[in-house]
């Protein structure tokens, strides 16, 4: 039944994955159809080969390790500098806020004292 085989062929990339659930009619067709079994065998062979690719390694270009470690060092230093700057900024901001608060308090106290002097009858 070529039509059914064509329909099944679309599903084989999923069927080959043993972790994926397979509908019973699909399973039954594959069990009884040599063409689909051959096609499934191709997918299985392909997956086995892909798993073997995991055992191959590409040789990194010379200097890549040193460059990678250097880039991490540079990023760490930037981060440390930023951290110090952030702390200093916070300290400056705190100092400025304190000074402003102190000036405000002093001004308020002076204004209050002046107002009291004005209200006292001579």
């Amino acid at each position: 039944m070529p039509t059914q085989c064509d329909e099944i062929a679309v599903l084989l990339p999923q069927v080959v994955d043993s972790s994926e659930p397979v509908a019973l009619p699909v399973q039954r067709h594959v069990e009884s159809c040599l063409r689909c079994q051959a096609e499934l065998a191709r997918y299985r062979r392909m997956l086995r080969g892909l798993q073997l690719l995991r055992t191959q390694y590409f040789e990194p270009t010379p200097g890549m390790l040193a460059a990678t470690l250097a880039s991490i060092t540079a990023a760490s230093e930037r981060r440390a500098v930023n951290s110090v700057l952030t702390k200093r900024r916070l300290a400056y901001a705190g100092a400025v806020a304190g000074a402003v608060a102190a000036a405000g308090t002093t001004t308020a106290a002076l204004l209050l004292a002046r107002a009291k002097r004005r209200t006292v009858p001579v």
Binding site: Q14, M46, L47, L50, Q51, L52, R54, M64, A67, T68
Partner: protein, 197 residues
């Protein structure tokens, strides 16, 4: 922070990772030394260019260093690193797609293989692995990423979907399309020969 790693002989990777999580920079350097060939290989498989792979490796380790405290240790470090590499490769590839000039043909062939250590496997599989590599390189990047991460590196659909910012369903659909394209690239030539005979 001072580090003992690298001075006192090989330690278990889990111990090195634990020290790096505590902020030991020397321990993190040791992780890079031990894993960068693997990370580079994945980057080459994902980007299909040596130039992009180099950038991906550097950026991936930077991200790993910044995020090492968030590594919970309930998964293997290698899986965590693969996920970061996949995410970084997606970012780098999308930035570079328009200006790509170097292709996988310019990347050296894989030189160190466990298969090569077993001659009987090497004889049997060398041709297949070469064809598979070539077919992978022919895939569009979005399909290649899925096939590499799932079928070569064994990541889960959930992990892949999360790193690529897509749904699990979309990840599965792309994987199945990728496998179908791979199958066509690998076997259609054989089929046309068979038809001609």
């Amino acid at each position: 922070m001072a580090s003992d790693f690298g001075a006192t002989g090989p330690a278990d990777l889990a111990d090195v990772v634990a020290a790096a999580r505590e902020g030991d920079r020397g321990a993190f350097d040791e992780i890079v030394r031990r894993t960068y060939v693997d990370t580079y290989t994945l980057a080459v498989r994902l980007t299909a260019t040596e130039e992009d792979a180099r950038d991906v490796v550097q950026e991936a380790y930077l991200r790993a260093w910044k995020g090492i405290r968030r590594f919970r240790g309930d998964a293997q470090f290698s899986t965590w690193m693969y996920r970061i590499t996949a995410n970084t490769a997606a970012t780098v590839s999308s930035k570079r797609r328009r200006q790509r000039t170097v292709h996988i043909d310019d990347v050296a062939d894989p030189v160190e293989t466990e298969v090569a250590l077993h001659p009987e496997l090497a004889t049997e599989n060398t041709e297949l692995l070469g064809r598979l590599s070539a077919a992978l390189d022919e895939l569009p990047p979005r399909l290649r990423t899925l096939v590499v991460l799932k079928d070569v590196y064994g990541l889960s659909h959930e992990d892949i979907a999360e790193e690529l910012g897509i749904s699990v369903t979309a990840a599965k659909v792309r994987l199945h399309r990728g496998r179908k394209r791979m199958r066509d690239l690998l076997y259609e030539e054989d089929e046309s020969h068979a038809d001609a005979v």
